[in-house]
């Protein structure tokens, strides 16, 4: 492993990601959930907090479920990994802190490459199809919870068939362009067995938590 990746893992923000398959008929409910979530603002949003709580609950072999308008829907399959923000991603964060004209983080992409994550990478190596615009209520959510950026991409039923082995947050919508904030790899084993999405069957979500002030805890 290169020195900069070691430093990022040791001193940089902590990046955790969950990829989840939902039920066959859950796409409208997921969209409705995040449309409602949008009305609660982009800071410490309780519906976003609930969403991540349920992802972690499902990862711990309990039923992870959400409710909206009296209807319950649950996570079918989940993968979790802890990977890394990129150098360029953090540089862009710093730039945004002093210059509001720089494009902000907005798009969530996925791919099927299991090349290990490194802090210098700037692309998903097996990215296919469209990135999800997290600022559109039905397509995801990007908010702040305490000292974390929480980014959620909702990938619809019609998204191309893929084994979700990698994911990242970008500032540009087009594949293989823009600045990449982080890279997550679901390579199996303790890093989480990747979920498989089949086009036309069910939606999936990819949710990232980038914590800028992690405290001593157990994940």
């Amino acid at each position: 492993m290169d020195r900069q990746t070691e430093l990022m893992l040791k001193y940089g923000p902590k990046d955790t990601c969950w990829a989840a398959n939902w039920g066959e008929k859950d796409e409208p409910l997921l969209k409705k959930y995040f449309e409602k979530s949008t009305t609660l603002g982009r800071e410490d949003n309780p519906m976003v907090i609930m969403f991540f709580d349920q992802l972690e609950r499902a990862w711990n072999d309990h039923i992870g479920f959400l409710q909206i308008d009296g209807q319950t829907f649950e996570i079918i399959d989940i993968a979790k990994t802890k990977d890394i923000p990129t150098v360029q991603g953090l540089q862009h964060c710093c730039k945004r802190t002093t210059d509001l004209f720089a494009a902000t983080w907005r798009y969530h992409g996925v791919g099927n490459s299991n090349i290990e994550a490194r802090s210098y990478q700037q692309q998903l190596y097996g990215e296919i199809s469209t990135r999800m615009d997290m600022t559109i209520a039905g397509a995801g959510s990007i908010t702040r919870v305490n000292q974390s950026i929480r980014a959620i991409g909702i990938f619809p039923v019609g998204y191309a068939t893929i084994t979700v082995r990698e994911s990242a947050v970008f500032n540009i919508s087009s594949g293989n362009t823009g600045i990449m904030l982080n890279r997550q790899v679901f390579s199996g084993g303790s890093a989480g067995v990747p979920i498989v999405h089949t086009q036309g069957v069910a939606p999936f979500t990819v949710a990232t938590d980038i914590n800028f002030a992690p405290v001593t805890t157990w994940l």
């Binding site: 070691e6 940089g12 983080w105 702040r144 992690p214 994940l219």
Partner: protein
């Protein structure tokens, strides 16, 4: 199960004293940095402060000699980090704009939940930022503490913080204290101005570079 240690961004600050006669040169340097975003000049300034701390005689590129320097390593606050993320995500448009200093003889340790300075012996004194830049994974902020005697207690500054406005009701980014190692300055013979001006310069680093 994995233990994650405390890993918030690192934060440190320099307080440098200069002769009052060098004020025009310092102002010109700061104007140049503001207008050109010359971050190399900021890094050079901070590097010269480090050299001065080692006891060397140090002159800036514009010929101005640093009289004395002190340094502190403190911390970024939770509220400050939250405001950084709000800026990153575009949910806030209020940039960090001031450094506020104060004089307090009470010794205390800053905490990540701080939102205000202790002002027991004077202050708060708000100074607009002279530079606010980013380079790599670092943020740079600095201000100039003028020579006038708006408050006699400005002879010594014991703590400072970057804020998103001129009042302590705004968001505090970091909290730096100089209790054991403050710089002091005396009033000139005409009893109107201080004999020195200070530059307060601080750095927030999200991840060190290999």
């Amino acid at each position: 199960m994995v233990i994650v240690q405390d890993q918030r961004p690192r934060d440190w600050a320099y307080m440098a004293a200069f002769k009052e006669k060098d004020l025009p040169s310092l102002k010109e340097m700061m104007k140049h940095i503001r207008e050109t975003h010359d971050v190399d000049m900021i890094e050079n300034f901070n590097q010269k402060c480090e050299q001065k701390l080692l006891g060397q005689s140090v002159t800036l590129d514009n010929g101005v000699e640093i009289e004395s320097v002190t340094k502190t390593d403190d911390l970024v606050t939770n509220g400050g980090l939250q405001h950084c993320i709000n800026l990153i995500l575009g949910t806030s448009g209020t940039l960090f704009s001031h450094i506020i200093g104060s004089n307090s003889t009470a010794f205390f340790f800053p905490t990540v939940t701080d939102t205000a300075l202790n002002t027991g012996s004077g202050g708060p004194y708000a100074f607009p930022l002279e530079w606010r830049e980013s380079k790599g994974m670092k943020l740079f902020f600095a201000t100039l503490v003028p020579q006038d005697t708006a408050g006699v207690s400005m002879a010594r500054i014991n703590e400072m913080a970057v804020y998103s406005g001129p009042a302590m009701t705004n968001v505090m980014l970091n909290h730096e204290t100089f209790f054991s190692n403050p710089l002091t300055r005396s009033i000139t013979q005409d009893l109107v101005v201080f004999a020195n001006v200070f530059i307060l310069s601080c750095i927030v680093e999200f991840c060190p570079v290999a």
